[in-house]
């Protein structure tokens, strides 16, 4: 095993609790070490010595691995996942509105249309927030506010359905699922915002 491969294996072990972070870091470190070794080779070193020197210049893998914030990237990906789930719920509602409700419950179609539109809008805003990062204040505050509402609505939907089921009413599992996705989306966005703002404050300080 070459010194660079051995180093990357040690680094992979140090980052093993966080595969999402590990993947990106390892790709970037591999490129960095290859460039550093290339530079050393140009100065006359053998391949092996050049890689040894590149690894030495980079620093110890355990110290390096522990300097990363381990939470932001996983929460970013979780937020992408939750926002896709929110879109899926919106699409499912469109299907229900178009196929099921006209014959069974036509008077509630406007309400469910509004709910579906809300799901799409929330997902769209979350995507904009993820793409533009946490640096646009109005977008951040809008997503934060909607997320708080989403958490409240999610909890309300779940609790309400549990109470209805307990009192002998008709249990509708999709309400629980919608509550979980909405509440989970809101909670993830909230945690992601708190983490990124904490980092931004530390950088500015």
């Amino acid at each position: 095993m070459s010194p660079i491969d051995a180093y990357l294996a040690r680094l992979r072990a140090e980052l093993k609790g966080n595969p999402l972070l590990a993947r990106r870091v390892l790709e970037e470190v591999r490129d960095h070490l290859a460039l550093a070794a290339e530079e050393e080779r140009k100065s006359g070193m053998s391949d092996h010595d050049a890689e040894e020197e590149a690894v030495h210049r980079f620093g110890a893998p355990d110290e390096f691995a522990h300097k990363f914030d381990r939470f932001v990237l996983p929460f970013r990906l979780l937020l992408i996942f939750m926002s896709l789930a929110t879109v899926l719920v919106g699409l499912w509602l469109i299907f229900v509105i178009t196929v099921v409700l006209p014959s069974r419950d036509p008077e509630h179609i406007p309400l469910w249309r509004a709910v579906a539109a809300g799901f799409f809008a929330y997902s769209g805003l979350t995507w904009a927030y993820l793409i533009k990062g946490p640096r646009i204040a109005w977008l951040r505050w809008t997503v934060l506010l909607i997320s708080l509402v989403a958490i409240a609505l999610g909890i309300y939907g779940i609790v309400n359905m549990v109470m209805v089921a307990r009192s002998g009413g008709h249990f509708e599992g999709y309400i629980i699922l919608m509550g979980l996705i909405l509440g989970g989306h809101g909670l993830t966005a909230l945690v992601y915002t708190v983490l990124t703002r904490r980092i931004a404050r530390a950088v500015r300080a």
């Binding site: 790709e27 980079f58 990124t196």
Partner: protein
């Protein structure tokens, strides 16, 4: 005194300043830091990445990955918020330097 503890609070500002001069990948950024500081900041090269990830999480830089020679290379560029944060940090840094300098160079006022 080791340079790393002294630098730990300033690394973000220095990296932001380097990225603000033009898009660059991590290896080029650490090389610029070493060259521009004339070797004063000759840090372990890995130091740059956790700081770049912090800046990206804060929304001060953004990055793109591309394939180069079969490897993934990530290039960082400053955002508008990053430029604003840099300006803020630069102002407070210059004030600090002016203040320290004034104290160090000021006339002796000690009592006998």
């Amino acid at each position: 005194m080791g340079k790393e503890p002294l630098l730990s609070g300033q690394i973000d500002m220095l990296l932001l300043s380097l990225v603000a001069r033009g898009p660059a990948h991590g290896y080029a950024i650490i090389a610029q830091l070493r060259d521009r500081s004339r070797g004063v900041f000759d840090l372990p090269e890995g130091t740059v990445y956790p700081a770049l990830y912090r800046l990206e999480a804060a929304g001060f830089v953004e990055s793109d990955a591309e394939q180069v020679s079969g490897r993934v290379r990530r290039t960082y560029r400053v955002t508008r918020a990053g430029r604003a944060a840099l300006k803020e940090r630069e102002t407070s840094w210059r004030e600090l330097v002016r203040g320290v300098d004034a104290v160090l160079r000021g006339p002796a006022t000690g009592r006998a």
